[in-house]
Every structure is written in structure tokens, then in C-alpha cells.
């Protein structure tokens, strides 16, 4: 029997690949991570990691294609039917997230080899790439699963690997260790809150499958246990999303981690947590219940607006470039949460679109800063002086991504802010529109500081007065420019992310007839 199935033609093997795509997209990097740690040399482990993530990316594209065709992919682990076993479910909401995470992981690896060789002890590189793969798999698993407890397991996988990856910045700066420790403590509190919430839900529903929980909750009246579960889950995931004021772990974790880690986390980690928050808010708990509406209006929206303004101000005063970008990330999470808190399909799809676009811009910005750090040892803005001459390509890429962060027309950032403003106006939240404008002006200020340093100041010169040219690794530059072009491309053709976001938003909210 065994030989029969193994010995059959390779076409069946390919079939098995496609029919198990939902599981393999997560499992390949998960097992690959363990294998990578066995490969002695850094470069071999890197090549293996690229291979694993590429496989994941191809599988996610395959599933994205099916989802675009209107399908919902279900997968039952161990072939146990729901709710006995754990199931994966890929629909328009998480197909986008899965593709985003696997694409960002691939780009991070393409970009990151020279920075890893510079920043990580050679003996540790293979295990570093192994941990990176595990982190990717953890995030993918969180996005793919339809089981509330399985979310927790993969949350732990991604969190613990993230703490380790952040701490690996210690060779550059010892502060990475305290940054990682703070993140570990807060992240563990977040995970604990989340699992308490899931436990309470299990107590009143007797099941862990998300849609099963949802349908049982729909038949129940108001219940204190459900309310407590709601609070615990929102706070737990809020910590992971860096929802203001639960964001204090983020700036240092992004600033002191190795370049490749900061870039990958900035473009994926908070996004996956936000996706889960949306999933729980709209498809597990009952939308329209009094406490959820109250939470949106009186907690989520004010916090989102505060984050947009306060953290943009904080970003403006950061001399450290990566801390600047990290504070800006918390502000940008505010935009996404504002979209969510509107509670309308338009608001949610604008928030999702901004989630996608923000991954593109922050990914590109962190890549560019990573290359500047590699070439010039840039840590502070003042050290970026004259980068327009010493590293012209990197500087140009950084500028375009920075413009996208401001929300300038011809970049993707404009589109999502535009839809967000429209959605806010539809609900008559003019104060939110004011906050968007103020926050964008602040973004002009802090991005402008970087652009000014790069182009309006003279670079450091050699003794003979010639400008020193810095060589940039080609592969890293290609990865950077893929993201930079994506920032422009999705201005002209936002149909892919926007179509998916709209379908997802109307599936989550449309049923309520709002």
C-alpha cells in the first residue's frame, strides 16, 4: 500500500501538493525551520530558507487564485471533521494576509543575506534562519487557522521566535536584549489574555472552531462570560497589534532587532494580529451587539485617533531612524484601527487596504534603512546626510516609500488614506478626518527630515575631497525596488487588494445589512 502510493507517478505528487496547499503553506516553513538549523553554514541555510518560503509563496498564490474565483478553501487537519479536529479556512480576508506574509518573508530573505552576514555571528546564522522560518510559519498559521485555540499555539510559535530574533540584535547593540525582554513580558501577557478569552468562550460554547463558536453565540442572549471573553481577547490581540496605549514594546523591538527582522516584523507581525482582531470582532463575536458597538465608538476609535496624532508627534522627535519608523508604525496601526472602528463595510475595507499598503511602504523603508546601516552605519538621521550622493539608489527608494507613507498621490498610501477619509465622512466622523489630515502633516514633517538629510546636505568626503561611493548588494536592491514599484503599482491598479478587502468586508459586515 505504501509503495503503491509512493511509487505512482509524480503527477499525483503534484496533485497532493495542490490539494494540501492550505496545510503545506504553513507546514513547509515550519518543518523547514527545524531543517535549516541543521545546515551548518549560513549561506546554505539561507538558500534553504528561500526555497521553503518560495514554496509557501507559490502555494499562497495558488490559493489566492482560487479565492479570487469565489472559492473558500477548507482543510481538516488529520482528516477529523469540525468541530472534533482543527480546520484551516482560507477566504478573501486571510488569503490576502497569507500572500502578504509569504511575499514579505521572501523579499526579506532576498534583501537580508548581506545584513545577516554583517550582523549575526557566523556560527549562529543557520539557527537564525531556522528561527526566522519558524516565525514565518507561526504568522502564516495564525492567519490560516479557523480554530481559536490553534490561533494561540501559532501565536506562541511566532511570538517566541520573534523574541529570539529581536534579541539577536544584541551583537550590534546590547539594548536589543532589554527590548526583547520587554516584548517578551508584554507579549506573554497578551497571549495569556487571549487564551483566557478563548477559555471563557469554550466554557460557554463547548467548541473551539470559530464559525461554530459564532453560530452558538448567535443563539445566545447577553452573557457576562461572553463579555469578559470579548474584553480579554481584544486586549490580548490589542497588545500584539500595538494598539495605543499597548504599543510600548514596539519601538525598541523594531529599532534594535537585526535589519532583516525589523523589516519583516514591521511589515507583517502587527498586521497578522490585526487580522485576528478583525476576525474575532466581526466573525466570532456578534457584530451589532451593544458592547461591541460601544467598544468601537468609545475605546477603539478614540485610541486609534490618539495613536495617529501622539505617535506621529513622537516619531517627529526621534533622532534614531528606526525608532522614528517604529513610532510611525504605531500611528499607522491607528489608521487601520480607525477603519475597523467605523464598523461599516467601507471603513473595514479601507482599513484592510491600508494594512496591505502599509506593509509595502514600511517594508521598503526598513529595507532602505537596513541598506544604509550596512553601507554607512546609519543609525541616526544626522548620519543619513548626503545619502542621495553616496547611495543614490537606496536614497531614491527610501524617498518613494516615504512619499507613500505621507500619502502623496501616485503612491499606494494615497489610495488607502483616500478611502479612509471617504468612509469616515460617510459616518459623519469629521473629527477623524481632521485627525487623518493632522497625522499626515506630521508624516510630511518626519519623512521630510529624512529626505532633507539625504538630499540637501553634503555627504562625508574623503581626504582628497571626492565623494565616497558605497556599494549596495544587488539582490538587496532588487528586493527593495520590488517593494518600491509595488508602492507605485498599487496606486494605479489597487484592484487586487481592494477587491479582496471589499469582498472580505462585505462578507463580514454585509450580512448584518448595514
Amino acid at each position: 500500500m505504501i509503495l503503491e502510493s509512493i511509487g505512482s507517478s509524480s503527477a499525483i505528487g503534484i496533485d497532493a501538493l495542490w490539494s494540501n496547499a492550505a496545510a503545506l503553506v504553513v507546514v513547509i516553513p515550519l518543518i523547514g525551520g527545524a531543517v535549516a538549523a541543521l545546515l551548518g553554514r549560513g549561506r546554505i541555510a539561507w538558500a534553504w530558507a528561500v526555497l521553503c518560503v518560495l514554496a509557501s509563496f507559490i502555494l499562497s498564490l495558488f490559493m489566492l487564485n482560487l479565492v479570487l474565483g469565489g472559492e473558500t478553501i477548507g482543510y481538516e487537519m488529520g482528516n477529523w471533521e469540525v468541530p472534533l479536529g482543527i480546520a484551516y479556512q482560507i477566504d478573501s480576508l486571510n488569503a490576502l494576509i497569507i500572500t502578504l506574509v509569504s511575499a514579505m518573508a521572501l523579499l526579506a530573505l532576498l534583501f537580508g543575506l548581506p545584513t545577516v552576514e554583517h550582523e549575526i555571528d557566523p556560527k549562529k546564522q543557520s539557527m537564525f534562519f531556522g528561527t526566522f522560518l519558524v516565525c514565518v510559519a507561526g504568522l502564516l498559521g495564525m492567519a490560516a487557522t479557523a480554530d481559536a485555540f490553534n490561533v494561540f499555539v501559532f501565536l506562541e510559535i511566532s511570538s517566541i521566535s520573534t523574541y529570539v530574533l529581536v534579541a539577536m540584535g544584541a551583537k550590534q547593540n546590547r539594548q536589543a536584549l532589554t527590548a526583547s525582554y520587554n516584548y517578551l513580558i508584554l507579549g506573554t501577557i497578551g497571549a495569556t489574555f487571549f487564551v483566557i478569552g478563548v477559555g471563557l468562550l469554550y466554557m460557554v460554547t463547548g467548541t473551539l472552531n470559530m464559525s461554530d463558536i459564532s453560530s452558538i453565540l448567535a443563539g445566545m442572549g447577553d452573557d457576562r462570560v461572553v463579555r469578559a471573553a470579548f474584553a480579554f481577547i481584544v486586549i490580548g490581540l490589542g497588545l500584539k497589534t500595538a494598539m495605543f496605549p499597548l504599543h510600548t514594546w514596539l519601538p525598541n523591538a523594531y529599532a534594535f532587532s537585526p535589519s532583516i527582522v525589523g523589516m519583516f516584523l514591521a511589515s507583517t507581525a502587527t498586521k497578522v494580529a490585526l487580522y485576528l482582531l478583525i476576525r474575532f470582532l466581526f466573525s466570532v463575536f456578534q457584530t451589532g451587539s451593544s458592547f461591541e458597538t460601544a467598544m468601537f465608538d468609545f475605546v477603539l476609535a478614540p485610541m486609534a485617533v490618539t495613536a495617529m496624532i501622539v505617535c506621529s508627534v513622537q516619531a517627529s522627535f526621534q533622532p534614531d531612524v528606526r525608532r522614528l519608523l517604529a513610532y510611525s508604525s504605531v500611528a499607522q496601526v491607528g489608521y487601520m484601527l480607525l477603519g475597523v472602528s467605523l464598523g461599516t463595510a467601507a471603513g473595514l475595507s479601507a482599513g484592510l487596504l491600508h494594512l496591505f499598503n502599509h506593509a509595502l511602504m514600511k517594508g521598503a523603508l526598513f529595507m532602505a534603512i537596513g541598506l544604509a546601516g550596512l553601507g554607512l552605519g546609519v543609525v541616526r538621521i544626522s548620519e543619513m546626510r548626503g545619502m542621495g550622493k553616496t547611495m543614490p539608489f537606496t536614497a531614491a527608494g527610501l524617498t518613494v516609500a516615504g512619499l507613500s507613507l505621507m500619502g502623496v498621490p501616485l503612491t499606494a498610501g494615497f489610495i488607502s488614506k483616500y478611502y479612509l477619509v471617504i468612509a469616515a465622512l460617510e459616518r459623519g466622523w469629521w473629527w477623524a478626518v481632521v485627525a487623518i489630515v493632522v497625522s499626515s502633516v506630521l508624516a510630511i514633517f518626519y519623512v521630510g527630515k529624512m529626505i532633507e538629510a539625504m538630499y540637501l546636505h553634503e555627504p562625508a568626503k574623503h581626504a582628497d575631497g571626492s565623494v565616497m561611493k558605497v556599494k549596495t548588494p544587488v539582490l538587496s536592491l532588487i528586493a527593495l525596488y520590488i517593494l518600491v514599484l509595488a508602492n507605485v503599482w498599487f496606486f494605479f491598479d489597487p484592484s487586487l487588494p481592494f477587491g479582496l478587502a471589499e469582498t472580505a468586508a462585505s462578507a463580514l459586515i454585509g450580512g448584518e445589512g448595514s
Partner: protein, 365 residues
Amino acid sequence: MEMSFPVDMNLPINLFTILDMILLSMLVVVAIAIVRLNNLFSVVMLFGVYSLLAATWFVSLDAVDVAFTEAAVGAGISTVLMLGAMLLTSRRALPTTPLRHWTALLVVTATGVALFYATYDMPMFGDANSPANSYVGLEYMTRTITDISVPNVVTAVLASYRGFDTFGEVVVVLTAGFGVMLILGIDGTKPGSENSEPAGKKEKPAKNSSVASEAIKSPSNHHVVLGVIAKMLIPLIVVYALYVHFHGDYGPGGGFQAGVIFASAVILYSLIFGMAETRRALPPALVRFCSILGVLIYGGLGLVTIIMGGKFLDYNMLDTHDTIHAQHVGILIIELGVLVTVAGVMLSIYYGFAGRYRDLKDQNW
């Protein structure tokens, strides 16, 4: 739904309730003591006491598997590992500012209030009609015998119905091991050697380990009694670990607990005979390989079931004629994976700490 009281109303108070209350109040007392103490050694010891009390309470709740894990992990190996970590730092915590305590107290109080608030609508404790006891939980109880046919339903849920979660947990354990190896040094290299020569370190691991082993003087020569007793105990502990492993289908136990027990046997060996002997018996490279191997066994089985035409971790594919047999084989294989990874990671963490001790004097223990 009708509310039925599980407690026999004729008795004023159930005796088990009294026991639970005593255990819970002891837990509270120990927790407060842990918060208030500055002496880290006492804190670590009290953590062990806390875990043991929790384990006892779990037994009284009929959650024997959880109790076993709590006793083995919480009271057993994590106490050893925390003592190991403490040896690397200091014995006393620095005094903290009172304000920080107040904010923490505020958060903790809010959490407690939320939980109390929820208790009002919770099902009664032990209610047979509660959702957790009547829906999926009940289905596991009734179906295990026909689907998997192992007497211990916990093992059936853990290893088969929700085997994917367990796979995830094994990866969590491995990731923790990666973390300790990456931060403390892969082969337990001494501190300073990493930072002083960042690049192009060519020396072999074996050399490192001999440097480290010199630092840790074996205390064996003046602990004859300990040595003799340990030599008698260690084989028994290992046999017990294997018993716990293979008995997991029938009673409480399984790969997690067995891996921890096995690791503690090796740690006992190293405490008595020194790290040098331990490294010779179980080289760090082997331990590291084992921690990865377990995940490969577990995940590899999943990939095999896919290749055989099933879904990930669908054990039935292993023997389509006799699915009960297939389930048993599958559970045995994945439990082996769990055992190997857990034991490997626990030892890797221990080696990571032990490799950093400058000098391990008797009075330090």
C-alpha cells in the same frame, strides 16, 4: 436549559470542596509570598511549591494528565532551570520603586474584577450539562473508543483529534531551545569568548567544551554517598520515563512528561558527576540534533500521510485496513517525536546555562 446543582444538597459542604478551598488559599498565600520576597532562591523554591500545589489541585479536579505535566515541568525541571539562571545572575532582586507595583496592582485588579464579573453567568462547577461537558467534550468521550480505541481520552485528543496543536507545541518547545542556544551560545561557550572575537571563530566546539569543563569542577570526589545513590537512581528514572512514555495511551503520561523526566535524569547525573562527564556521555551536538529530530519525526509523519494520499497527520493512512491500528502507530510515532524534542531542548537549555558558570562551588548549591 435547566440548572442542576452537582453538589449533593444534603451535605452542607462537599469534602472535595473543602480540599479545593484549602489548596486554593495555599496557592494565594504562596503567590503573595513570591511577590513580596526579594531573595531569588526562595522565590524559585516557592515557584516549585506553587506548581506542586497546583498539581495537587488538578488531581482533585480529576485532571490527572495536566497535574502530571505541572508536577514534572513546573515543580521539576523549571525549578532546576530557574536555579541555573539564578546562578548566572544574583541571589537577590533589586528593590523596585513602589509606583511600578501600584500600576501592576491596578492591572491585576482589573483582570480579577473582569473574571469575577464573568463568574455570575458561568456554568456551575462540575455541571454535566455545561457546554464544555456536553458538546465536543462529550463527543470525544463517546467516539474515542470507536475511532482510536485508547483508554486515555486525553491522549486521543492531544495526539490525534487535535494532534496539529501538539505539533505546534513541540515547535514552540524547539523554538525556546533555539532561543537559549542563540542567546547563550550554541555549545555552551563561555561568556566573553563570543563578544571578544565576533567573526571568523575557527576553533572547534570540542575545544570549547573542554575549556568549559575545566571551569566546572566535578565535585564527585567528596560526594561518595551522593554518587552511589545517583548511580542507582538514574537508571530507574530513565526506566520510569520510558514507562510514562509508553503508558500514555492507558493512563496519565506521554511524550512531554517522559521527555522532562529523562532530561532530569541527565541533569541529576551532571550535578553529581560534573558537566565534563555529562558532555562526554551526551555531547551538546547530539543533544541539539535530538531536539530538532523530534520535530522532524512529528512533522515527517504528517508529510508521509500527505504523500500516501491523506491529509496532514491523518494517521488512518498508515494502515487503511485497520484504522485503529493505524491510529495507535501514529500516536506512538508522534509521541516519540515529542519525547525526543522535549528531552533534547531541556538538555540544550541546561547545557546553555551550565556552559556559562565560571566556577560552581559547593556552597552555591
